[in-house]
């Protein structure tokens, strides 16, 4: 303390202790501010945790229910019937190929100036062959429809039982035990029921024999084709049919060995979801919840989108950060960033009304017909959705890539120019490599943006739940697909809460969630790991 304090000055100790500071609920302003921001962060984390918990809680039940689904499939003998159904399905597919081949020949001949009658006479041998081919499966089809009835009946019976049990439990829960006692449930004796199914084995075998014989005879009458391309198609059908005939003994062996109570490994419940190639719901026969078609659809659409958006976004970023004048920069940047302000439903609307039609019209231009997959058969397909998603990804990629480029220290650029490099060389050899990690994470985040987008794909991807036919090469990009986001948006409104379908949709949601999480994590990792090397 000062030895001679001036009378007006408070002692220093007094000045240090400020007793009547403003307090609210015992908190100083500094503390209030701290707790305010702290609280916001906590809310964000809690919400994230709640969403995660909710997702997983709702989704987890799927595996139990799917197990039940698969068990009934076997117990009720649907699996047994499907051995035969597969033959019929394969035959149907081949038949379709033959029909397409006929159409191609027909078009070829009429284009050559023949009249319809002439063409039909010319194609008579082919028609005879096609009819014989088509009829060969009749016996098997007959057996199949009988078996289908039997198996469906068993499944139905089980379902009725199950409903009754549920009703009973509900009544018991409500305390109406006398009413509950009135409901009798006799468990289905699957062993006894499936005996009827297995009893048809000789009939199946006979039908197969007929099938093989007739098919073989029909194949022998296949006429030679006038063109190498058509001949190749017929040869493919021939080979497929021969393979089918050859596989019959093996199928029969499997049918013989089939048991309704053979145990199903628990893992099947997971694998049939993760690797299942069919997403089939509300079917009269058997529901399948395989994510692959949806996953492939999402991936395909994203690949198209990124193929378009990455060059556009990155080049625009390079242009704006390195080449553009200040005025151009001030014009281009807001324009690109404005794209992200367009509501996705508007983009989807544009896709349906304009882009889809325009793309298809383009694909029908005759001098483009050499392009694989052209002309497109559908207006709304992966390409339509991919183009629009690209538009949505461009602002993300552009902004982040531009940041990355701007973060490259100025002295690298100067050193390059001082050595006599021109602008292009400096961009390609110095700036892009130095900001590569940032650019890659920009692309990844663009990918995250695209794969999570819903409205555009729902409106424009065509919504056909099927794995695109990749044997068509690039043509696979012009087929309609359905996506993970699209299916959730489309089906979630219609499903019964708690049903297996409901839970399957949650599982799709979880896959999406984990995918996005993974993408974001990798993007951050890349930025952090390589930031040092930028300088």
């Amino acid at each position: 303390m000062s030895p001679t304090p001036s009378p007006s000055a408070r002692p220093i100790s007094e000045a240090l202790l400020n007793r009547n500071r403003f307090r609210f609920l015992g908190l100083t302003p500094g503390e209030i501010i701290k707790y305010f921001f702290n609280g916001n962060a906590v809310v964000a984390i809690v919400v994230l945790a709640l969403i995660t918990i909710f997702l997983f809680r709702e989704g987890a039940g799927f595996f139990g229910q799917n197990m039940q689904n698969l068990r009934i499939y076997r117990l009720a003998g649907l699996e047994y019937v499907d051995f035969i159904r597969r033959q019929v399905d394969e035959h149907t597919a081949m038949n379709r190929a033959l029909n397409e081949s006929r159409l191609a020949q027909f078009n070829r001949l009429t284009a050559a100036g023949r009249t319809v009658e002439e063409v039909n006479t010319a194609l008579a041998p082919f028609d005879a062959f096609a009819t014989a081919f088509g009829d060969s499966v009749e016996d098997v089809r007959g057996v199949l429809s009988d078996l289908t009835e039997v198996a469906t009946a068993i499944k139905q019976k089980d379902q009725v039982n199950r409903d009754r049990l549920e009703q009973k439990a509900m009544l018991l829960g409500a305390g109406k035990s006398d009413e509950a006692d009135k409901i009798t449930v006799t468990p289905v004796d699957f062993a006894k029921e499936t005996v009827t199914l297995k009893g048809t084995f000789p009939a199946c075998q006979a039908a197969n024999q007929q099938f093989a014989g007739k098919l073989q005879a029909a194949l022998a009458t296949a006429p030679a084709m006038p063109e190498a391309k058509l001949q190749k198609q017929i040869d493919t059908v021939q080979a497929q049919a021969q393979a089918l005939i050859a596989s019959l003994p093996e199928i029969e062996r499997q049918m013989q060995e089939w048991k309704h109570d053979a145990p199903i490994p628990l893992s099947r419940s997971f694998t049939s979801f993760l690797f299942g190639r069919q997403w089939l719901t509300a079917s009269f026969w058997q529901d399948w919840y395989g994510i692959i078609p949806l996953f492939v659809g999402s991936l395909l659409v994203s690949i198209i989108a990124l193929t378009i958006a990455v060059p556009l976004g990155v080049s625009a970023a390079i242009y704006v950060s390195e080449i553009a004048s200040v005025r151009e920069k001030n014009f281009i940047k807001p324009c690109i960033e404005f794209i992200s302000a367009i509501p996705s439903v508007v983009l989807g609307f544009f896709g349906i009304a304009m882009l889809g039609t325009a793309l298809r019209a383009l694909s029908q231009v005759s001098w483009l017909s050499w392009f694989p997959g052209f002309p497109m058969s559908e207006r709304l397909n992966s390409l339509t959705a991919g183009c629009l998603l690209a538009l949505m990804a461009v602002p993300t990629i552009f902004s982040l890539a531009e940041d990355a480029l701007n973060n490259v220290p100025k002295h690298f650029k100067e050193a390059s120019y001082a050595l006599g490099a021109n602008r292009f060389q400096t961009i390609v050899r110095i700036l892009v490599p130095a900001s590569l990690s940032g650019i890659i994470s920009a692309i990844l985040l663009g990918f995250g943006r695209v794969i999570g987008e819903t409205m555009v794909v729902l409106l424009c991807a065509g919504n056909r739940i099927a794995i695109p036919n990749f044997t068509e090469g690039l043509g696979a990009f012009f087929q309609p697909v359905h996506t993970m986001t699209g299916i959730i948006a489309q089906e979630m409104g219609e499903v019964v809460t708690g049903s297996i379908h409901y839970r399957a949709l949650f599982m799709v949601g979880i896959v999406l969630f984990l995918l996005s999480l993974g993408i974001n994590y990798v993007a951050q990792l890349i930025v952090r790991r390589y930031r040092i090397s930028i300088g």
């Binding site: 200040v326 690298f412 100067e414 050193a415 001082a418 050595l419 006599g420 050899r429 110095i430 090397s533």
Partner: protein, 274 residues
């Protein structure tokens, strides 16, 4: 080298008075006025920099030393607001702002070493060969030779010859700066500009770079900006003192340090301001 034209210089301080006036000038600046937007950074600067000598630019921060240096290889072209209003700069007698001058070729003739050592985030080898590779040189043998020659020229060869393919950023500060010098001499310039090359180095690294400058002077014309008076005294032949964008005094180094003609120069050198 082209003979300099005999136009008389207007500025009194244009020629180092006691310098060998007969020596051909490598760089000639005539009445240069330089602006950043509205702010004038150089006022009527005229100076003749002789070949195969070390010329030092000294002066307080912000007086325009770097600006003038960066005019010599037209690095100021990269700055949108930079512009030259009056005056000319000639190198080898050629006006470097003439329409036929290729700025890329100019920068190959006039190398530059920056204040902050700035090797590319590439290997030592790639750092040296960068200047040649952008000229399209692909021949491996030629590149190998240039790498060795340049690194020897920068007195760095013995220290890095076993790690040519490791990152240039892994070197110490002084080594990085010598790497930058090696990178500059790899394209065989005739002039090397150095903008405070030692300001971030410790005394030992600094003395190595200064030694190197003495060796380089036999082959190159060197212009060095420094705010370290001792450094200017130790390694330069000519010294130019700038103040507020004006060239105040330009003369032989001993003369500037022992017997400056201007009062401002004396004040600065004796540490009375700056």
């Amino acid at each position: 080298m082209n003979p300099t034209d005999t136009k008389t210089m207007q500025s009194a301080t244009a020629d180092p008075d006691s310098a060998d006036a007969a020596a051909p000038a490598m760089i000639e600046v005539e009445n240069l006025d330089f602006f950043y937007g509205q702010a004038q950074a150089l006022h009527d600067v005229s100076i003749r920099i002789p070949a195969n000598k070390v010329t030092a630019f000294i002066g307080p921060s912000g007086c325009g030393k770097s600006t003038l240096l960066r005019c010599f290889n037209r690095m100021n072209d990269l700055i949108d607001v930079a512009r030259i209003d009056a005056g000319r700069i000639k190198i080898h007698g050629v006006d470097i702002h003439h329409a036929d001058v290729d700025v890329i070729a100019l920068r190959r003739q006039v190398g530059m070493v920056f204040q902050k050592s700035n090797p590319f985030p590439k290997s030592i080898y790639e750092n040296i060969t960068y200047g040649l590779q952008i000229q399209g040189v692909k021949d491996r043998k030629q590149l190998d030779e240039v790498v060795e020659k340049s690194l020897r020229g920068a007195a760095l060869w013995d220290e890095v010859k076993d790690r040519l393919h490791t990152s240039g950023l892994g070197l110490s500060g002084g080594q990085q700066q010598r790497l930058c010098i090696a990178r500059a001499i790899a394209v065989e310039p005739s002039i090397i500009l150095m903008d405070e090359p030692c300001s971030a180095l410790d005394p030992i690294a600094t003395s190595k770079v200064e030694e190197l400058i003495q060796q380089l002077k036999t082959k190159y014309t060197i212009v060095i900006v420094t705010h370290n008076m001792q450094q200017a005294g130790r390694c330069s032949d000519q010294t130019a003192f700038f103040y507020l964008g004006k060239l105040i005094e330009y003369s032989k180094t001993e003369k500037i340090f022992t017997n400056p003609a201007q009062k401002q120069t004396e004040d600065y050198i004796t540490g009375r301001f700056g």
